[in-house]
Amino acid sequence: MATTAVDAPAAPAPPPRRNRSRLTLRNTFIGWTFILPNFIGFAVLTLVPVVTLFYLAFTSWNAFGQANWIGLENFARLLTDGTFHTALINTGYYAVLHIPLTLAVSLGLALLLNHKMRGIAFFRTVAFFPYITSIVAIAVVWNMLFSPDSGPINQFLMALGIDNPPGWTTSATWSMPAVVLTSVWREMGYYMLLFLAGLQAIPRELYEAARVDGAHAIQRFWNVTVPSLRPTTFFVTVILTIQSFKVLDLILVMTDGGPGTSTLVLAQYIYRKGFEENDFGYASAVAVVLFFICLGLTVVQFLLNKRKEV
């Protein structure tokens, strides 16, 4: 390959104008042929459904009849739908527990594993492994670990002297924390890797300088690590937020929204209304709400991030 370029003309003369527009046309055509095989699938299966969603949200439609335009009726119904409100609050509750906990644990893991030493790759691999394990297997195992009577977790708690350990997934109070714990365990390795990449981009000189100035480890963490990690932390928080608001499969398998409605989340309410009750129009209205929550949160986070940077 390297030798072929040698006898090429140094610089081709600039083509006349008409040729150039023909060239643009040709390039455009070739460019499209590259992109189309993927783009057609992407457009049909993602873009079209997203747009259709906004139409469906204004209709009343079950699986068999026709979609009837009913204007804002679905959204009015949302205002008085107690189950929807519960789902909304639960989703917020999940996010409020899940986001800071995952941030703290994954950053802690990254700090612990950001050392050059023998076997470090093994430890990183271990931390990442839960993330690629299937939700179903994880949910099944953790449900058993959380088992109220003789599950390992409660046996451990009782050994510690806690006489009345929680019922976890069978208790309305503890089911959400149990789900959050499981999801933190599953996802921390992923965010750990993102933090690790961020940590390794911090120039060592900054730490040397801080050391020379007499800053001890904790000061170095707050004055060097935390500010330098800001872009990573921002990125992680954005992803984590969206992930939290669309949580579904883990809850579906672990608790199915229960007991009662204690772990019912927005995405599951969409699933229930749509696929279990065939109320497509109303489910779409809920989906529109989810869409705007995710969009809104992302925009707000970007604005906040920008303001801090100035």
Binding site: T46, V136, F235
Partner: protein, 296 residues
């Protein structure tokens, strides 16, 4: 930003060999670090350990008080019984068919599109790419209903094709490959163009062979993602004979909800292929996450 490899050589100077008065303290810190890591690793792996040991126990032993850490006797029978009690073979076969074909198509169309986005310049290109970017913040859970209706209308629901369609055209593959292609020097394709190679040949003969690591990364991530998918199959696959391993396992759990040991056996079988792939390619997983940490 093109390829972030953790711990690239050269980021830190080799440890100097001079006498360090704090050597003893450093050694102690190092040992403490190892202890902390071992504890953390053990805690993280504990659920897996419990899963595997339980799959080799009898039902009564799974929830014995106090916990019985190791199976005694070791019940290998569970690994024979499960094939008779569940359609494991069918589920594994379906999942394998889907994972392999989705992965192949996604790598093919993704790398092809990535070439168009990174190596060719033409009007409208950036707008097109922006539509990919714009969908990142849109959760699938928001548009799964219109998508389901569409695929049902064309008769694809309740067939394996629906999952193929669902998983193949993710924006993720395009992103990941584009990131990598941009790190391949422009001069290479320029030289090939002067030699008279068509763009398609440049993609096939030059760029694709050079993008081994990116292809490996995308292959692993897509395969694992398709293997582990639960929601897609839950919504689309109704008939038992087209179920995937995840749906099958879930139904097995509901059906045999007191057969704890067998349930764990099924879980182990569903995780085993992924664990194997993970061990073979963990380097690429790390690279993939670091390069394009926007999966999901």
């Amino acid at each position: 930003m093109a390829t972030v490899t953790l711990d690239r050589p050269g980021t830190s100077p080799a440890p100097a060999l001079r006498q360090d008065p704090r050597r003893g303290r450093k050694l102690a810190a190092r040992i403490a670090l190892y202890v902390a890591m071992i504890i953390a690793a053990a805690a993280i792996m504990l659920p897996f350990f419990w899963m595997v040991t339980s799959s080799l126990k009898t039902n009564n032993q799974v929830f014995s008080v106090p916990i019985q850490w190791l199976p005694d006797p070791v019940v290998w029978r569970n690994y024979l019984d499960i094939w008779a009690k569940a359609d494991m073979l069918t589920w594994v076969k379906n999942t394998l068919i889907l994972s392999v074909s989705v992965t192949f198509l996604q790598v093919l169309t993704g790398s092809f599109a990535a070439y168009g986005f990174s190596k060719l310049r033409f009007p409208g290109r950036d707008v097109l790419f922006l539509t990919y970017v714009a969908t990142i913040a849109v959760p699938w859970q928001a548009y799964m209903i219109p998508q389901f209706i569409m695929l049902s209308k064309v008769g694809l629901s309740n067939t394996l094709w629906s999952i193929l369609a669902l998983q193949t055209f993710s924006a993720f593959g395009v992103f990941l490959m584009k990131q990598y292609y941009e790190s391949i020097p422009e001069e290479l394709s320029e030289a090939a163009r002067i030699d008279g190679l068509s763009e398609y040949s440049i993609w096939r003969k030059i760029v694709l062979p050079l993008s081994g690591p990116a292809v490996a990364t995308l292959t692993l991530l897509t395969f694992v993602n398709t293997w582990n998918d639960y929601l897609g199959p839950l919504i689309y696959l109704r008939d038992r004979d087209i179920w995937t391993i995840q749906i099958g396992l879930k139904s097995f759990v509901s059906q045999y909800n007191a057969e704890y040991a067998l349930i764990m056996t099924g879980s182990v079988i569903s995780v085993l292929p992924i664990a194997l792939i993970f061990m073979l390619g963990q380097r690429y997983f790390v690279q993939g996450i670091a390069t394009a940490g926007l999966k999901g």
